[in-house]
Symmetry: C2
Subunit: 115 residues, 2 copies
DNA sequence: ATACTATGTCGTATATTTGCGTCATACTTC
DNA sequence: GAAGTATGACGCAAATATACGACATAGTAT
């Protein structure tokens, strides 16, 4: 991903791609849904709910944390993870803008040859 | 990605992850934006507009086509790619549902210990 | 202090992605 | 038909991602 050419894209495009990548694995989607459904911050229970080893889940958590999509607070022996709802809302807007832009009109101009 | 365990997730989660993965590279985001801005279907011009080789762009196009996000129609010597706006709208809804679900309420219950 | 528990980090094997050169295909034009 | 052009398919090297066991760390509890 971090090939040289990657730098030649818009910061906006890279940002969207970065977040999309974070959601590009079912486990991470599941983690976010889990954190949303349980209204309370859970910790290693997440691993128990997923069909993956604790280690692997921890890695996925770190990835989400690296993008600040989730936050972890140490509470004694356990760590409480919460969604960063503010960021998520912002990301949602970014995605919406992208999709709206892409679906604004049917792409092909009325008289275009193809399609 | 196609590890054994991957099957253990919801079809919904896998679907979202699949699409997210398609958007997980700036080149593919750029391609979609390009197709949206040029109101007419373009073909190999896409490669010319991107800082990547024709071959690489072709691969990204195939990836988007595999998910049916874009469609290509052969028009003589060239191929016209168009956005599948209908699918994109549907995907937009899926993402929106996911984000709304995730940001519906602040995750932590009022009296929870952490956060 | 000692034993126990919850997490993160590291190392590593395997799988997948990415980028691109080269070749094959197919249509156009002369 | 021969030459030229636009694309996709194939193959390969380098980069990443994925999964997980083993170890390190840090707080709890007795």
């Amino acid at each position: 991903m971090t090939y040289a050419k990657t730098t030649a894209f818009t910061e906006e495009q890279q940002q969207l791609a970065r977040v999309a990548k974070a959601l590009a694995h079912p486990a991470r989607v599941a983690i976010i849904q889990l954190l949303a459904s349980k209204r309370t911050c859970i910790s290693g229970d997440i691993a128990a709910e997923l069909p993956l080893s604790r280690t692997t889940v921890s890695q996925h958590l770190q990835e989400l944390k690296a993008l600040d999509l989730i936050r972890g607070e140490i509470d004694g022996l356990t760590v409480c993870y919460c969604l960063n709802t503010e960021l998520l809302r912002h990301v949602h807007q970014q995605f919406t803008a992208f999709f709206v832009e892409s679906t604004a009109a049917d792409t092909c101009a009325p008289g275009s040859a193809c399609c």
